[in-house]
Subunit: 159 residues, 2 copies
Amino acid sequence: MTDENDTRKDDLKDGEALALGQQLCFAVYSVAHAFNRTYKPLLDRFGLTYPQYLVLLALWQHDNMTVKGIGEELGLDSGTLSPLLKRLETAGFVSRTRDKGDERQVIVALTEKGVALKTEAFGILMEIGKATGCSMKEAAALRSALHDLNRHLDEHNGA
Amino acid sequence: MTDENDTRKDDLKDGEALALGQQLCFAVYSVAHAFNRTYKPLLDRFGLTYPQYLVLLALWQHDNMTVKGIGEELGLDSGTLSPLLKRLETAGFVSRTRDKGDERQVIVALTEKGVALKTEAFGILMEIGKATGCSMKEAAALRSALHDLNRHLDEHNGA
DNA sequence: TCCGATTAAATTATGCGCTATTGAAAATGA
DNA sequence: TCATTTTCAATAGCGCATAATTTAATCGGA
């Protein structure tokens, strides 16, 4: 599959690029699923899904965000977030109120229960870091490589 | 968030483990989405979705697989695959026939159109490898690190 | 042979994610 | 001022992902 007659230097041969792109995207795909499966049993105790947890993570770092702000943070749009946030509201973790100044905007804020969950979740979710089986250094390097990859893909897409 | 009084050696401090696990899982989550967005416009030309493409990739490497076999390859179960394979069948890329020997099993095979797509898709999907912006070496290292991570997470889950 | 257990696939229900559309509120501009 | 454009959120429709249930076929032992 990689026997193309392409002898360019300083660049990927076409076949290699194809094979590698496939392997890389599939590896990312698999790991994303694996993370999901790892988090699920832990989050089930709180009645949370993984993306819901990501939204709470964002709010724990910076409370009172608009839907758009959360979307930019996580790379999601309102079509995904609106129903998700309603479920978080129903579950009592966040409140959704229209901004007085600009009534198009919905401000999402943590409730007391949502703030309390941060402390509660800390102890339980800690084991994920250990489940990765990585040393600090490895994990940091991997995270950095993923950020670079993300940036390149975004450039290729959006630009 | 990381100011725990934990001074263990040779292991992650709790706070660091939490922060890193979060950053790592979020980075993977983001890159998976980014890959999806990158592939989508290319696959749209063939009327394929990303997971459908992954199924075809598996079949291009090894034709005539059972649903279970495909599921093991991709980490998906019949709940995901059954409707997906029906759509691929409707689109004319694969055929689904019961095994003569064991009628519980459904053999998924490429049609002529499905085989032809491999050649056709090659040229178009090649640019993904380049979109990663990685050198061969970087990509290979990243893929390897992801495989390790996947293995660790799987061990942590299934054991 | 018959009965129970196991296996394979499909089905159902819930939730995520994207796109496109809608509708309302703001900002812009003649 | 009034009309156009832009922005933000919500909604509907499609497809993926998982768990739980259902149905059917195979295999094993009495």
